[in-house]
């Protein structure tokens, strides 16, 4: 069995060496496409991770109509907390709000009566829930329509749109490169099959099994894909280090969390290997010489 394996692996390695240029082209394209795909994916995950902390920062304020009773206030608090997408709702009594305002700006507030109504500070679970929560709050008769619901609507939309653009752009660019890499692997294997027509014919003449004839080409595709994936992981690791150093030169306190190099090699290498297997399988199936 081992002897058999060494024969087919040896055949695959010989073909990889023989078609050095095509191998290089296929591996480097897989590497670049997986680098972009992995890099964009990684950045997207980080951005989403960060975005999930944003809703707490972009809180909403609502004010109640003047003269709302305590019983209605507690009833309203319960109703607000039940609105889908609401993470928390804290009552801000008008007295406390006025005290704070006086502390913060004593010159302006001096001699004035408290103009504040009772209100709520509301945080949402996800950015995209902002509009829906605001609409449901506006629909409550106890909420004062003037000023209504106060929140950073535009900023929330901007961040949400930015994430969407990043997701689609990443998918399109990396998808196109991934497709190109597949075509290159496909062509590299077809070229190998053409180069090795004589060996294939000899194998067929002496009765080599279909697997013996085909497996070296599949191994070749898997190796190309895996190498591309591994290089992509190394490129990501390098990019992260360069970016980290850049942040240090700016003397900021920002720092990136550690890059999961081992995981990246495994994941991207695995993805590349599977992709290489699929592309080489298609190439073998489309070439009657290897049948």
């Amino acid at each position: 069995m081992l002897d058999r394996l060494s024969f087919v692996i040896g055949e695959a390695m010989a073909a990889l060496r023989r078609n050095g240029f095509m191998t290089f082209a296929a591996v480097s394209t897989v590497a670049v496409s997986l680098f972009l795909l992995g890099g964009l994916g990684y950045s997207y995950m980080r951005a989403v991770e960060y975005a999930q902390t944003i809703p707490g920062k972009f809180d909403m304020r609502v004010y109640l109509v003047p003269g709302t009773s305590l019983a209605t206030i507690s009833e309203t608090a319960a109703k607000i907390r039940q609105i889908p997408g609401v993470a928390s709702a804290f009552l801000i009594p008008k007295d406390k709000a006025w005290e704070k305002q006086k502390r913060d700006d004593p010159a302006i507030t001096m001699g004035l009566e408290n103009p504040y109504p009772d209100g709520f500070k509301i945080t949402i679970k996800r950015l995209k829930d902002g509009d829906s929560v605001a609409n449901q709050l506006r629909a409550m008769p106890v909420i004062d329509p003037d000023p209504g619901v106060i929140y950073l609507k535009e900023e929330q939309h901007l961040i949400d749109d930015g994430l969407q653009v990043m997701r689609w752009l990443g998918l399109v660019i990396a998808g196109l490169l991934f497709l190109t890499a597949g075509v290159l692997i496909f062509n590299a294997i077809k070229l190998t099959i053409t180069h090795r027509r004589r060996e294939i014919r000899i194998m067929q003449l002496v009765g080599a099994s279909f697997l013996t004839v085909r497996v070296p080409f599949l191994i070749e595709g898997v190796v190309q894909g895996m190498l591309g994936g591994a290089f992509a992981a190394l490129m990501l690791y390098g990019s992260q280090n360069v970016f980290q150093n850049f942040l240090l030169t700016l003397s900021t306190r920002s720092h990136l969390s550690p890059f999961p190099a081992g995981q990246a090699v495994l994941i991207l290498g695995g993805v590349g290997g599977v992709y290489g297997l699929i592309c080489s399988g298609l190439a073998v199936a489309s070439t009657s010489g290897a049948q």
């Binding site: 002897d3 058999r4 060996e199 067929q204 003449l205 002496v206 009765g207 080599a208 099994s209 049948q291």
Partner: protein, 242 residues
């Protein structure tokens, strides 16, 4: 029918049509006994190579039956073809040698491809090369060999599975008369050891000298069989290879 009386190879009303309605064979019926030495002769396109390819299952008949050692080859599934080919030795006209491999490596490569281990290869290759009298050139590359020597290597490679049947398609097509005769002598000696040998050829001079069974084909029909009647041989005019 007992095994002793049943033919080793039988073509029954075989018809082969290639794509584009080109007919390769027309209602061919033939029987070959175990241990026979048969020449298929005829002009280009007569159908002699098609007969060989039917046995290797490179071609499948459109009608009729091809039987090898009691097995209907038309019923074979694609994945059974490699096993079929291991029961026979195939000698192509163009030798099909790997130019960057030495003589012994060419034979070893084929053995490795069919699953022989390295130690089996080391043990068996010298024997096979000696069997076809090319052992002394084991370390030579194909381009350093004469045409006859290259054909010997191709025959050596065909013998790696100890086949009871040897199929040769124009084995002397690229050789001068002396080397052609050398190859025929080699095939004769293998036949004397019990191997059934089928040869497609148009090398009439050598075929006459061999004095073996001759099946003549023309336009896809068997026009004569020396086993049943005097052969009707094709004209001696030079023809390109089939």
């Amino acid at each position: 029918m007992s095994e002793a009386l049943s033919p080793y190879i039988e073509f029954k009303d075989v018809q082969v049509e290639y794509p584009g309605r080109v007919t390769g064979l027309h209602d061919v019926s033939l029987r070959v006994k175990k241990g026979d030495f048969v020449f298929f002769v005829g002009k280009t396109g007569a159908g002699k190579s098609t007969l060989i390819k039917l046995l290797t299952r490179e071609v499948k008949q459109t009608k009729g039956t091809v039987i090898l050692h009691g097995r209907d080859l038309g019923q074979l599934r694609d994945r059974e073809i490699p096993a079929l080919r291991r029961e026979m030795g195939i000698v192509p006209q163009d030798f099909a040698l790997l130019p960057r491999k030495r003589v012994w490596e060419n034979v070893a490569y084929a053995m490795r491809a069919v699953g022989h281990t390295r130690s089996e290869v080391r043990k068996k290759v010298p024997d096979i090369l000696d069997q076809v009298n090319i052992g002394q050139r084991a370390d030579a590359f194909p381009h350093q060999l004469s045409g006859g020597e290259q054909q010997r290597v191709a025959i050596a490679r065909a013998l790696i599975n100890n086949p009871p049947l040897l199929l040769a398609d124009e084995p002397t097509g690229n050789l001068d008369p002396d080397h052609s005769w050398e190859i025929m002598e080699l095939l004769k000696s293998l036949n004397l050891k019990g191997t059934t040998v089928l040869v497609a050829s148009h090398d009439m001079m050598v075929i006459h000298r061999m004095g073996r069974r001759i099946v003549t084909l023309d336009g896809g029909h068997v026009v004569s069989d020396s086993e049943t009647a005097a052969p009707v041989l094709p004209s001696e005019e030079p023809t390109p290879d089939a």
